[in-house]
């Protein structure tokens, strides 16, 4: 069997495997692996507000993952708003960040499906343990409340004393009671959430780091309200304390934290008349719940199981092969030469990290400045590696000031937008320069434009978020990608550019100067 036939069979086999794998997975996809005692919940936010201008921002805090709860699906409906990309940011404080496309009344709904387990099952990503929280000097009524409590308690159980004071000595007031700590301590009555605030104030006054946490107690409720509790740092570990519900030390599994150091779960800039409602419902256990056992090694094959923070990046990584596919197509079927094989894919990737006009702007500025500095550096006659490093340094400086310039023009790019392209650009500048010296300006510029063109085509593929998330759910589709690449790799037909290149050869021999 020759290579051509083997390639065909392999491609066919891979394509079949990929498609059938994806179909099989689609069958079992809905099943979340549950162990006995686990439960599934859906928390829904509905936010109505009025955007005062185009570009008004709305932020929603998403429930966090803990050792015993994990968000496994998130859906947002936001007509009239576009998501602003957040690749980094504090890891456990995932925000949905939306920008209004127009002025006017808008509605955003978001739902989070949460898997709760009675025992610790998951490693918490970006654990919050190391965070510091401020401590305040006591003043006024806080100090005068704290002093007798401090005197009564031994140093080791001051936290317990403060907790019991807030839980037992402060009465539960009405919802519309004043919520500031001074009034609470003076009246010894607190609205919902007030006790937690008072506990934080007292702890901080006693120089014990403490912070407010807003979250949900999962329990079916059409008009749920976020609850507020306190986290106190003791012996380098944050413990949860809720003086209202008498929780001290560890969090019950059905308490899901959403936001730390603040109590609003939805907030915005340039918005008014904001009205947020929450609902919580228990989801029915998916089919197969009793059949599946404990965690198995096969879970590894399910990428959607990964924490949500990684989804965006994973989806992008999984799109890279499609970029390579586009490049392979352009090079072997169309026949366009580019600087470097995967430069276009990587460039496109960097455009995806930024929005494309920031990317293109940075790209253009850096190319121009890079080429200018390259021709200056040329005069210094340096060895290759130091010379490349000098250009890299200059490119880094250009980038830094580009960011500053964009910020000055109120275009605030994300720093990640410019992180990736730097090294690629340095190499591209070097290649461009050599190409320019050897083959002349015209060919180099032509090749540069072709690189950009292929990069744009790659970009159109890579920005396809839906496809990325589809690939995250069905990564075996990439077996089909490999199959297509194998077929391209066995393509012996003419390249499109050759139809132009060899066009003179179709003139009949009689009309040409033939062999003597």
């Amino acid at each position: 069997m020759n290579a051509r036939r083997i390639s065909l069979w392999v491609a066919l086999l891979l394509a079949l495997l990929g498609v059938s794998g994806a179909l099989w997975r689609a069958q079992v996809r809905q099943q979340v692996r549950l162990t006995h005692g686990d439960s599934l919940w859906r928390v829904r936010y509905a936010v109505d507000f009025y955007a005062e201008k185009r570009g008004a921002r709305l932020h929603l805090a998403s429930p966090m993952d803990t050792a015993r709860s994990r968000v496994f699906r998130r859906e947002t409906y936001h007509r009239g708003l576009t998501p602003a990309r957040h690749m980094a940011g504090t890891r456990n404080q995932r925000e949905i960040d939306l920008a209004a496309e127009r002025e006017g009344a808008l509605r955003v709904t978001a739902q989070f499906d949460i898997h709760v387990s009675p025992e610790s099952r998951w490693r918490v990503w970006g654990a919050s343990e190391g965070l510091t929280a401020q401590t305040n000097a006591a003043s006024g009524i806080v100090a005068s409340t704290l002093a007798p409590l401090q005197a009564r308690a031994a140093a080791s159980n001051l936290v317990a004393t403060l907790f019991h004071f807030c839980a037992d000595d402060i009465a539960e007031g009405a919802v519309d009671d004043p919520g500031d700590v001074e009034t609470i301590l003076a009246r010894k009555a607190a609205p919902p959430g007030g006790k937690a605030r008072a506990l934080v104030a007292l702890c901080r006054a006693a120089h014990i780091p403490a912070r407010i946490v807003a979250g949900f107690e999962l329990d079916s409720d059409d008009a749920a309200r976020p609850i507020i509790w306190t986290e106190i740092l003791q012996e380098k570990k944050w413990g949860a304390y809720d003086p209202e519900r008498d929780v001290a030390g560890t969090l019950p599994p059905n308490f899901v934290p959403v936001r730390r150091d603040a109590t609003e779960l939805a907030w915005g800039t340039s918005v008014r008349d904001m009205k947020t409602t929450f609902s919580i419902e228990a989801l029915p256990p998916p089919p197969g719940v009793l059949a599946t056992g404990r965690r198995t090694v096969w879970e590894i094959l399910d990428l959607t199981r990964l924490p949500l923070e990684t989804h965006q990046v994973m989806a992008l990584i999984l799109l890279i092969p499609l970029g390579a596919l586009v490049t392979a197509f352009f090079r072997t079927v169309v026949g366009l030469g580019t600087f470097g094989t995967f430069t276009p894919t990587l460039l496109a990737l960097s455009f995806v990290y930024a929005d494309w006009h920031t990317g293109l702007f940075v790209f253009a500025v850096v190319m121009v400045l890079g080429l200018a500095s390259r021709s200056l550096v040329e005069r210094l006659k340096l060895l290759v590696v130091p010379r490349l490093s000098v250009i890299l340094t200059l490119v880094v400086l250009c980038m830094a000031f580009c960011i500053s310039l964009l910020d000055y023009a109120h275009l605030t790019p994300t720093p990640q937008a410019v992180l990736l392209p730097m090294v690629i650009l340095t190499m591209t500048i070097e290649r461009y320069f050599i190409n320019m010296e050897e083959d002349g300006m015209r060919i180099a510029f032509q090749r540069f434009l072709l690189t950009l063109l292929v990069a744009c085509c790659c970009y159109l593929v890579l920005r396809w978020n839906t496809v990325g998330h589809f690939l995250l759910a069905y990564p075996e589709i990439h077996l089909v990608t490999i199959a297509v690449l194998i077929l391209i790799g066995r393509y012996t037909g003419y390249r499109l550019t050759e139809l132009w290149r060899f066009r003179d050869l179709t003139v009949p021999a009689e009309q040409r100067a033939g062999p003597p």
Partner: protein, 314 residues
């Protein structure tokens, strides 16, 4: 009425070989990767040639370490003319032809002045792999400059023409002569603007012609007709190319010769992926000749007849 492109069917009928087919059907099966160093490293190619009694330009010095660059001036004191080239360069990159001196400076064949510092810098760029195939560290070769044969006096501007023979399974299949132009700045590389003329396999006489991918009949700078020049020592060229292809162990290879002033052919380099522009110079494709060789390579046919039949194929 002129169309700007050709349909694939038309190209197939004209026997045009495309790059994809060249790579998959010729380079991959007939050129084992293990034999690539013989062509990718010009020092090795030279060694092969010398073993088989094929002429190559005399090596004046090989510079292998950055430290040797300091001694460069003393290496070339005895020579006013020489060529500096990277041992693993491609597409003629990084080659400097020095044709004389003016005071403390050297003059390249295209008339540029080079100071000692500039030459040293160029050498160090070669050593650090700027021009090498994969960007790995490289050696620089300093060798004798070949003075061109008078037959090319009105056919080449600013450089030395070379003669390329493409061999398939050990049989010379097509040949062309590449002529530098002002545009190519003395280089014989077609994509940089050099002109090529086809050479008849049996007679060694030129015909056809190509410049920047278009068929032409006269040299763009001198206006001299490209057709009808008979290459000196044509038999020696064919014999040397065949011998070299055999020792290189490559089934699809291009061998580049230059003719020195006395008409002696000298091998400059060999190429395991020779380009396809030779087809445009001929006005017809390689495919028919490839098929013919595939059918007849096993026949014990006298060499002259083999070439005559090949040349007659068109």
């Amino acid at each position: 009425m002129k169309r700007g492109w050709a349909w694939p069917g038309e190209l197939r009928r004209a026997g045009v070989l495309g790059i994809n087919r060249r790579n998959l059907d010729l380079v991959l099966p007939y050129n084992p990767r293990a034999n690539f160093p013989g062509v990718d490293d010009k020092l090795q190619t030279k060694r092969f040639c010398e073993q088989r009694g094929i002429s190559v330009p005399r090596t004046l010095a090989v510079i292998a370490r950055q430290g040797d660059i300091q001694r460069f001036a003393s290496l070339v004191t005895a020579h006013d003319e020489f060529v500096i080239k990277p041992a693993s360069g491609c597409e003629g990159r990084g080659i400097i032809v020095i044709a004389g001196r003016r005071g403390a400076h050297w003059l390249s064949s295209s008339g540029e002045e080079w100071s000692l510092d500039e030459l040293r810098y160029h050498l160090s760029a070669i050593l650090s792999g700027l021009y090498s195939l994969g960007g790995q560290d490289d050696h620089a070769i300093v060798e004798q400059r070949i003075v061109r044969h008078p037959i090319f006096a009105d056919l080449a501007v600013g450089g030395t023409p070379d003669i390329r023979i493409i061999l398939y399974r050990g049989v010379p299949m097509m040949a062309m002569v590449r002529l530098p132009t002002r545009q190519s700045r003395g280089r014989a590389n077609l994509h940089q603007g050099a002109v090529a003329a086809a050479i008849h396999l049996v007679t060694g006489e030129t015909f056809g012609g190509v410049h920047l991918g278009r068929a032409i009949a006269a040299h763009p700078d001198t206006g001299a007709q490209l057709a009808g020049r008979r290459m000196p020592s044509w038999e020696i060229i064919l014999a040397s190319a065949t011998r070299l292809a055999e020792v290189l162990g490559l089934g699809y290879v291009g061998v580049d010769f230059v003719l020195d002033a006395s008409g002696l052919p000298v091998v400059l380099e060999a190429n395991a992926r020779p380009g396809l522009a030779i087809q445009v110079a001929h006005g017809f494709g390689l495919a028919k000749r490839i098929e013919w060789i595939d059918r007849h390579v096993a026949d014990a046919m006298p060499r002259a007849e083999l070439l005559a039949q090949l040349a007659a194929l068109g």
